[in-house]
């Protein structure tokens, strides 16, 4: 039985493009660590120019299409008909995309860079969670696009005049253990939502991108 479940998970991971998604996730985390400390000049409101956008936040946006690529796709059609539990599959998919984040956070912690570790974990988990929630509601391309819109909003109008972040733009705030914990909790909720709320079946029933009606 265990062997059968292992085969199922392996096949499902392959069908979900897990190697490619893991590579993308790893690349995002590696770039974030490599360019750690760099900022980008985005056209924020003059009142918000007190603090530029951390480049790690820009890279973290890449988790949105990666998540949609990993969790969406044709295999949802098959999984919608599954009689066995899909818990191992969803946990494995979650591990595939979050393992590089964990690695990057640990790598940052080894250099005692707590802020970077918390930032990588917070931003990555938040974008994955958002995309996963959206994936239960809309088609993958839209689920991958809305987080980009959110990035545009927080990078342009996300700060108060004193440089502090608005509540809704909490990813612009300095990373803290509390905000990181919120992100991880959101991610857990998103995985549960994707698994339990029968949205997977709904996602499978939606027309795939290549069959989009015009």
């Amino acid at each position: 039985m265990v062997e059968c479940a292992g085969v199922l998970v392996r096949l499902t991971l392959k069908a979900h493009h897990a190697p490619a998604a893991a590579g993308l996730s790893l690349a995002i985390c590696a770039l974030t660590l490599l360019l750690n400390g760099h900022t980008i000049m985005l056209p924020q409101l003059l009142a918000g120019l007190t603090r530029p956008v951390n480049i790690g936040l820009l890279f973290a946006v890449g988790f949105a299409p990666t998540t949609a690529y990993l969790f969406g796709g044709d295999s949802l059609l098959l999984e919608a008909q599954a009689r066995r539990s899909l818990v191992p599959v969803d946990l494995a998919l979650g591990a595939v995309i979050t393992a590089p984040i964990l690695l990057a956070a640990c790598a940052a912690l080894t250099t005692r860079d707590t802020s970077t570790a918390l930032g990588v974990a917070r931003d990555g988990c938040a974008f994955i969670a958002t995309t996963l929630f959206l994936l239960t509601l809309v088609r993958p391309s839209i689920a991958a696009t809305v987080p980009v819109l959110y990035f545009l909003a927080i990078s342009t109008v996300g700060l108060n005049s004193d440089g502090s972040a608005h509540t809704w733009a909490w990813l612009r705030a300095q990373p803290s253990p509390a905000s990181c914990a919120v992100s991880i909790a959101l991610l857990a909720l998103a995985v549960i939502a994707f698994h339990c709320l029968a949205r997977r079946q709904a996602a499978a029933r939606r027309p795939l991108e290549d069959r989009a009606a015009i």
């Binding site: 299409p65 980009v148 109008v157 989009a212 015009i214």
Partner: protein, 417 residues
């Protein structure tokens, strides 16, 4: 539309693409659905991001409106990618008899219309511009229009290359980054290439033509390259594909070379995309020259200047010219003020006049000269015969200068180097 040919297709129409009531409604397209949020966001961003330039200067207002391209560019790219994504999923499976460019126009017409309408709204609302009286010239509206065209074609090209999962996020974020990031790059002139010509303009400035042509060249090259990609992807006759690809590659190459030629002169620019405003635009009457948008302050300037000029002559001090304007030239003294308060005008003119005569309007580093000029301003204002609440009081331990001191003070102040 492509679906027009579905009924005459050789293969059965797939269930997913069958015509359903409302499917072709223009109101359901991304361009229309996202128009209001995009314009509202752009209006909020641009109006809250006040640059401090005179709001009644049409070029400054137009520049502020053009800054909305930060939001409108990604919006039209996303909408175009959405439209072309639907086309991509069916292209090659349907018997299409129209040429590719007609199909492209059919898909992008609404996107372009919405984008131009969005920019037009920004121009109208932000600038309060009236075409007949405050037209800011063709440069900025042209750049705005080319930006909309460029990013629409870019979004369409991206959608024809990548799947929607990749194309939509890329179409959204790439224009945003291309428009935004050069603001923080070095060399500084790179910021003038992408159509986001912020920091324009004070009333003494106009857009530098090199910045305008550089933006047009860069955006035009992106548009032509995107068009080449679209042509290659949409050609439906396999026998014509190599020829189309060769033509597209040649056209794209020529466009890049042309853009390079247009961009090169802009490398001489600094951080600002501006040049000095031509004096020919000054509107002169009697002794006072003002920029056209400041004409409402003419009476206050004339009255104030008459009094200050009389006081200055009463003190026995020389005047090279009696004509005043917003800038100092060999024939103009740059002492005009954009306010209708006569007291304010006199106070400012009394302070600016000796500086304009000395050519010291930008040099406040010499404290001795500053003190002497302050005393001269005090004398000038006291000599106008009109009590002025805006006279800067002298230090309490300093005896007030008298008219007899004027010539000595004037001879002691040094001109700027």
């Amino acid at each position: 539309m492509v679906t027009d040919t579905l009924a005459t297709g050789h293969r059965p129409v797939p269930a997913g693409v069958a015509r359903r009531p409302g499917d072709r409604s223009r109101l359901r397209s991304a361009a229309v659905l996202l128009w209001v949020p995009a314009v509202a966001f752009a209006l909020f961003f641009v109006s809250a991001n006040a640059t401090g330039w005179a709001t009644n200067y049409s070029l400054a207002a137009a520049s502020q409106a053009n800054d909305g391209v930060v939001i409108i560019g990604p919006y039209v790219a996303l909408a175009a990618a959405w439209e072309m994504g639907a086309l991509r999923s069916l292209w090659g499976r349907l018997p299409v008899r129209r040429p590719w460019w007609r199909v492209l126009i059919g898909r992008l017409a609404l996107v372009l219309g919405c984008g131009l309408a969005a920019m037009g709204t920004l121009y109208g609302v932000l600038g309060h511009l009236t075409l007949l009286t405050d037209f800011p010239g063709w440069s900025l509206p042209l750049i705005s229009a080319i930006s909309v065209l460029c990013w629409s074609l870019f979004g369409a090209a991206v959608a024809l290359i990548f799947r929607p999962l990749v194309a939509l996020p890329v179409a959204l974020i790439a224009p945003f980054l291309v428009i935004s990031l050069p603001q923080g790059w070095s060399p500084l002139w790179l910021r003038h290439l992408n159509g986001y010509l912020s920091d324009c303009c004070s009333t003494t400035d106009v857009l530098d033509s090199r910045a305008v042509t550089a933006s047009i060249g860069f955006l035009g090259a992106i548009a032509v390259c995107a068009l080449a990609v679209i042509a290659v992807r949409l050609v439906h006759d396999p026998r014509r594909a190599p020829a189309t690809a060769a033509v597209a590659l040649t056209v794209a190459g020529v466009a890049v070379l042309g853009a390079w030629a247009l961009i090169t002169p802009a490398s001489q620019l600094g951080p600002l995309p501006t040049a000095t405003r031509p004096l020919a635009q000054l509107d002169c009457a009697h002794d006072v020259c003002l920029w056209p948008e400041d004409k409402i302050y003419r009476d206050a300037n004339q009255t104030g200047w008459d009094q200050v000029q009389a006081s200055w002559r009463t003190l026995g001090l020389p005047l090279k010219t009696t004509r005043i304007g917003p800038v100092t030239t060999p024939t103009l003294l740059g002492v005009t003020v954009t306010t209708d308060s006569t007291d304010q005008v006199r106070a400012s003119m009394a302070s600016l006049l000796p500086r304009a005569l000395l050519g010291c309007q930008d040099d406040y580093t010499d404290q001795n000269r500053n003190d002497a000029l302050a005393e001269l301003a005090y004398l000038t204002l006291n000599g106008t015969g009109h009590p002025n609440p805006l006279v800067t009081p002298l230090p309490p331990n300093q005896p007030p200068p008298t008219a007899a001191d004027a010539a000595r003070l004037w001879s002691n102040v040094r001109a700027c180097s």
